[in-house]
Symmetry: C2
Subunit: 404 residues, 2 copies
């Protein structure tokens, strides 16, 4: 008997038949004598429908109301999944985020989990019930509904796995696992059987659609070993954990493409202490994730700051910056026609020459680099959006990741 | 300045454009300096869609999960309505039932309101905010989501009006007010400018689609005067209150048709003390509303019990009865092909001959009576379903309700 947390994403519970399929999977695991907590997302498409309705009513909807609105997607799925289990004779009970004791801070649309009160869950598990928990949502100290941001359901699953000391955590999605690159872009991409938190983290934060970085960070912090796998077949997925035994020395584990970033250029700001700080403080106050910051000093006395932000936050970012620039001076411009290509691997920590290999490969494909940033285990470059796929393919090949 | 509670039903908030219309109405009232609490229902059709999904997964869905599921309909509308108000510059905040402090008992799908904690609402009103509250839902002492049953949003509005001591309570719906009969059935039906709680209560409990009886009972108990009116025009509606000044002496105020009842016949049960009690206790335990009970003693030693139940509860009723009959003996049968026609009026308290007029009118139209039941201010008869419309028309005419 094991205590297992499973998470099913939006496509896995996309309609009534798929919910039945998930219920059958749950029953099979349950019938083997396991204890099960299942986290589900909103049905695929529901969240986008709700956002469309919201935007038809208000150009920039209040984040509190957005959370109040979006949390219903998961609440629908938990009830339907519990009913599907009842329909096949499995004792099950649904929990909203609030009912599951998922207490968060007050940052609407991207709240952080503070604590989980695991007691009611564990009581229900001991009573033989399968527990279905709404992913993506929580409740703050004042009873307000909060959501955890993109990929929040994964975070819910991993946090619950830590809270109830689960033996296993399985993240079911519409892909088979983590690949060396997106197989739709890079034909020769291979599935990885294992990957380290650090590598997964970089891939996640770099636009790999498999998981958001926050969930991986959380898993690393609480050492929750999890498996990413498909709910549409029984293939083994990719296990994500602290230490990975490598079959061979590899420099680069994967290539990621992120087309959901915009480049922000803040030019002609006074080149004096505090100007840049004011810009980034305003962005931080608006809870905007900033990446790949570069500063150039140009003409005498003025500087140019360049960085990337998620496409979905571009208006909010520009608005926040404009307020600062009214005070300090300067202009802001936006370039949406970019992509970020990254190569990731713990192996590169101890090897030099990775950057040279990447830049050479891209130059060979006549691709211009607009921004470069590096960490111990990754190199990212910003290039023109239309070159993204070619760049991914040549990088994948250059690091020997192509299938034999 | 007045403190006003308004309630908008499902068709009034049926889509984004209608929500905008409701927001514009709210802004107009708000701009006159009034304090506003607005209760909204789920968008028309949403509840039925959710029920269809539930039934596709489980023949008889768990009532707890049903409440968890159905409560999302209103939660969507509150967030969208608040956003629509933000879009036109009105400060507004949405409250779920739980956030509005609507505390209920634990009877899923038809919970009763125990208390309302009005303090946060009154604080927000004083801060100048319009408050949008999800109708139909509450929370029990253990944090479980409950719903209030059919017409629950009206109940929410009236209970809130009592809790915050509102000056006015307006129930906006897709009809202009309360009519002497359903105008789609009886061509000469007239709108009433006022009606007493007692009359409204009988009409409500007798299948008038305007309001459920629980809401009217609640209003009568707390003496909440309310107006039923249309959200699609500015016509005055019908005011419902304790005492109604009559322009003329009327015996009957309205005719109601209810086609959502089934007749249950429990035959061949032992005619001894306790048999009937066991049947009705089982129905009560299953929270099924029973109406128009008649008992006939037939052959020696056995009796026949006849009564009506809401169509939506027929399976549950038969199931509950069958368990009792296994013990006491007897058979149960169901007739869905019935309608209940009722005439209502406080005037009939002091007049005899109302029953004779009704039965004569129905006999004149060749309509057979299957069951009869009477109260101080109403007479109901059960007839064949296909005769329902004709019966309503002849009764309406017989009591002089037709328009001149």
């Amino acid at each position: 008997m094991a205590r297992i947390v499973q998470k099913y994403g939006g496509t896995s519970v996309g309609d009534v038949d798929r919910i039945k399929n998930v219920a059958a999977r749950i029953k099979a695991i349950r019938d083997q004598g396991n204890e099960l907590v299942v986290v589900v997302s909103a049905r695929a498409g529901v969240t986008n429908e709700l956002i469309a309705r919201a935007k038809a009513l208000c150009a920039i909807p209040s984040e509190r109301e957005m959370d109040q609105l979006l949390s219903i997607g998961e609440q629908e799925t938990i009830a339907l999944t519990a009913m599907a289990l009842h329909g096949i004779g499995v004792d099950a009970v649904s929990y909203t985020g609030a009912q599951a004791g998922i207490s968060t801070d007050k940052v609407y649309t991207k709240a952080k989990i503070k604590t989980i009160n695991a007691k009611p869950l564990i009581n229900d598990l001991k009573a033989g019930r399968v527990i279905i928990v709404a992913g993506f949502q929580g409740i703050d100290d004042e009873g307000q509904t909060t959501t955890l941001g993109r990929g929040g359901s994964d975070l819910t699953a991993i946090a619950l796995a830590a809270a109830i000391k689960a033996d296993k955590c399985e993240i079911y999605t519409d892909v088979d696992g983590v690949y060396t690159a997106d197989p739709r872009v890079v034909k020769y991409a291979r599935k990885l059987s294992e990957i380290s938190y650090d590598e997964m983290l970089e891939l996640a934060s770099l636009g790999s659609k498999v998981m958001q970085s926050r969930s991986v960070e959380f898993a690393a912090k609480y050492n929750v070993v999890f498996e990413v796998r498909s709910s549409f077949n029984n293939n083994p997925g990719t296990i994500v954990k602290q230490e990975v035994a490598y079959m061979e020395k590899v420099l680069v584990r994967g290539v990621a493409v992120d087309k959901d970033q915009a480049k922000v250029v803040v030019s002609n700001i006074p080149d004096k202490p505090g100007s840049a700080a004011k810009v980034f403080k305003a962005l931080a106050n608006a809870h905007i994730n900033v990446d790949m910051i570069v500063q150039n000093v140009g003409r005498a006395g003025v500087a140019t700051l360049t960085f990337t932000v998620p496409l979905s936050e571009k208006e909010k970012a520009v608005k926040a910056i404009e307020i600062v620039l009214q005070e300090v001076g300067g202009e802001v411009s936006l370039d949406e026609n970019i992509a970020k290509i990254s190569v990731v691997g713990v192996g590169m920590k101890t090897h030099s020459g990775v950057a040279a290999t990447l830049f050479e490969a891209l130059a060979g494909a006549n691709i211009n680099l607009e921004l470069i940033s590096t960490s111990e285990i990754k190199i990212s470059v910003v290039i023109a959006k239309e070159k993204a796929e070619v760049a991914a393919r040549v990088a994948h090949a250059a690091f020997g990741l192509d299938k034999l």
